[in-house]
């Protein structure tokens, strides 16, 4: 599906576990890294490679919130709104982002640049409010800091 290099990577992952099925989460991560999201065809391929039912793969893709079934924006912003962040103003932060990007949580801007999500505690409560921007945490945020950050993105 994704070429011989990819297959080799998958073989190395599978070798780390006593059963191929255990490689499911890491293999799904690799698929998502390569393609941006996990589509139906990839689910089928993974099922075959790990010798599990396609429905099992789909069940896991939907159970775990970080697997994406459709592409998200180039910049995926996940705002934590759990209690410690709420106490430090995460609701204002979310409102600010909604107004600025003109989208609601769960949506992507029409140009595909930004997507927004409301998420639960990210283990960064001491530097609240915060959000995760793609792979990185942006912490101790203020509205001004957010504006500067978004403007600085290429």
């Amino acid at each position: 599906m994704l070429g011989p290099e990819f297959e080799k990577k998958i073989d190395a992952i599978v070798a780390k576990y006593p059963q191929p099925k255990a490689a499911l989460l890491p293999v799904l991560w690799e698929v998502q890294k390569a393609q941006g999201h996990i589509d139906f065809a990839s689910e089928q391929w993974v099922a075959k490679r790990l010798d599990v039912a396609p429905s099992h793969v789909h069940g896991c893709v939907t159970f775990y919130t970080m697997y994406k079934q459709k592409p998200s924006g180039t910049y995926h912003i996940q705002v934590c709104t759990t209690l410690s962040c709420m106490l430090r103003g995460s609701d204002e932060l979310m409102k600010h982002l909604e107004a600025k990007l003109r989208i609601r949580p769960g949506q992507t801007t029409p140009d595909g640049r930004f997507s927004l999500a409301r998420v639960e505690c990210l283990g960064s409560c001491g530097t609240a409010p915060m959000f995760q921007l793609n792979d990185d945490f942006q912490e101790d945020l203020t509205l001004e800091k957010v504006d500067r950050l978004l403007e600085s993105l290429p």
Binding site: K21, A22, P26, W29, L83, M86, L87, R88, E120, C125
Partner: protein, 430 residues
């Protein structure tokens, strides 16, 4: 006070093997592998009084001693490190993994040796992308130096170390759900017994410990259990502890102190006091959002397992969420209930439906649409969850709900009677 667990935090190059070794790193592993049997390591940890830092406070040495003393080649032993850190208010394991990954590794290897493991899996929550990368680099360094892999330090013991990333699910921090997830399934908790030491991941003998728990092991082995007993409150609340302070304080963050730090000292000295001097303390959740809340007048307490239990709450994951008088307790509890409803795996009806009820009833009280029976409804739904579920997530939603409603009943009642909030806001504001 001497910093123990966080001694390398903030040091230049703290993630590298060179800096870790320069500070005496991997000496405990050398000592254990060259001069101690696995059972002697377990005995030393037992003697130290170390209790699990993941939430339940179970004695670590005792847990290790449940593992079979012989390895059946068809059933290898596995050591799982719980780095899922998703309990709201908790952010200590991330600090250890990102700032001192070799400490986490050395502790994991010591535990692995004690329980005769052939593989250590570090299950890290999917969002900690950088933490996983940092661990991977440290593991590669450790392999290159012979601290992991085949025939470690010439001892004849071999053990692989594998980082396994989760993918977004609070429930995978629960130990049996973590095992389901590691096996490549949805993170569904399982009934105990069987306990992991008898039949854990892939049906093999398994031990699971929190990141901070194993980070204590190198110090116990290197300096001895007798030294460890002098830190904190012997015999049952020993050792150094990482406290996660968040919410309405001037200096939130992770603070290390001997187990039993007075709560007031954490808030007013280490944490610099309340965020706003004109706002008084109202409540503290002391152990992550799963434990009962303390009212300000209950906050004369030491932060250790037994002192907090005596106050009817728990040390849990030591995630302290501080709330000042501007916070609406209905809004705070509604936010907590939303979390548990979102994270319930849905296997047990009392948890799946009960968490939904809690969220909906709290939301309507907060919105000024509550009815007089709602407070008793919240209590009865909570009481019907407790003890009736496969795992403790249900209790983790119900116990805070009961504590909020009983300790702040007037405030909940006010919302119902006046269709408005006595704090004048919907939620506390910084």
């Amino acid at each position: 006070m001497e910093r123990i667990l966080t001694r390398n935090v903030g040091k230049e190059g703290s993630r590298t093997l060179a800096v870790y070794e320069a500070g005496g790193g991997y000496q405990a592993l050398r000592k254990a592998l060259s001069s101690m049997t696995p059972d002697a390591v377990t005995e030393e940890v037992k003697k130290s009084g170390l209790r699990g830092r993941g939430g339940a406070g179970f004695p670590t040495g005792l847990k290790w001693s449940f593992m079979p003393k012989e390895v059946d080649p068809k059933r290898p032993h596995y050591f799982l490190i719980n780095a899922d850190e998703s309990e709201p208010g908790t952010f200590k394991d991330r600090l250890l993994m990102e700032e001192d990954p070799h400490l986490v590794l050395e502790g994991s290897l010591l535990g692995g040796y004690a329980i005769r493991a052939s593989v250590v899996y570090i299950y890290i929550r999917g969002e900690f992308v950088r933490g996983a990368e940092i661990l991977e680099r440290a593991i590669a360094e450790a392999y290159a130096k012979g601290y992991a892999g085949r025939n470690i330090l010439g001892s004849g013991w071999s053990c692989e170390v594998v980082v396994h990333r989760g993918a977004g699910a609070y429930i995978c921090g629960e130990e049996t759900a973590l095992m389901s997830s590691l096996e490549g399934n949805r993170g569904y908790p399982r009934l105990k017994p069987p306990f992991p030491a008898a039949s854990g991941v892939w049906g093999c003998p398994t031990t699971i410990n929190n990141v901070e728990t194993v980070a204590n092991a190198p110090f116990i082995l290197e300096r001895g259990a007798d030294w460890y007993l002098t830190v904190g409150k012997a015999p049952k609340n020993t050792g150094p502890k990482l406290y996660c302070l968040s919410g309405h304080v001037k200096r939130p963050g992770v603070y290390e102190a001997p187990m039993g730090l007075p709560l007031h000292e954490l808030i007013y000295e280490l944490g610099g006091g309340m965020l706003r001097d004109d706002r008084a303390l109202k409540a503290v959740i002391p152990g992550g959002s799963s434990v009962p809340v303390l009212r300000a007048d209950e906050c004369e307490v030491d932060l250790d397992f037994d002192s907090l239990a005596a106050k009817g709450t728990m040390l849990g994951s030591a995630g302290l969420m501080v709330m000042d008088e501007s916070v609406c307790m209905v809004a705070a509890m509604a936010r907590i209930a939303h979390f548990y409803h979102h994270e319930s795996c849905g296997q047990c009806t009392p948890c799946r439906e009960g968490c939904g009820w809690l969220e909906r009833v709290l939301a309507r009280i907060e919105d000024g649409r509550g009815v007089p029976q709602d407070l008793d409804l919240l209590l009865s739904v909570s009481n019907n969850i407790i003890g009736n579920t496969i795992c403790a997530l249900g209790d983790a939603a119900a116990m805070p709900a009961i504590s909020f409603v009983t300790k702040f009943r007037d405030e909940f009642q006010y919302h119902i009677d006046h269709k408005s909030c006595p704090t004048g806001t919907l939620a506390g504001r910084a």
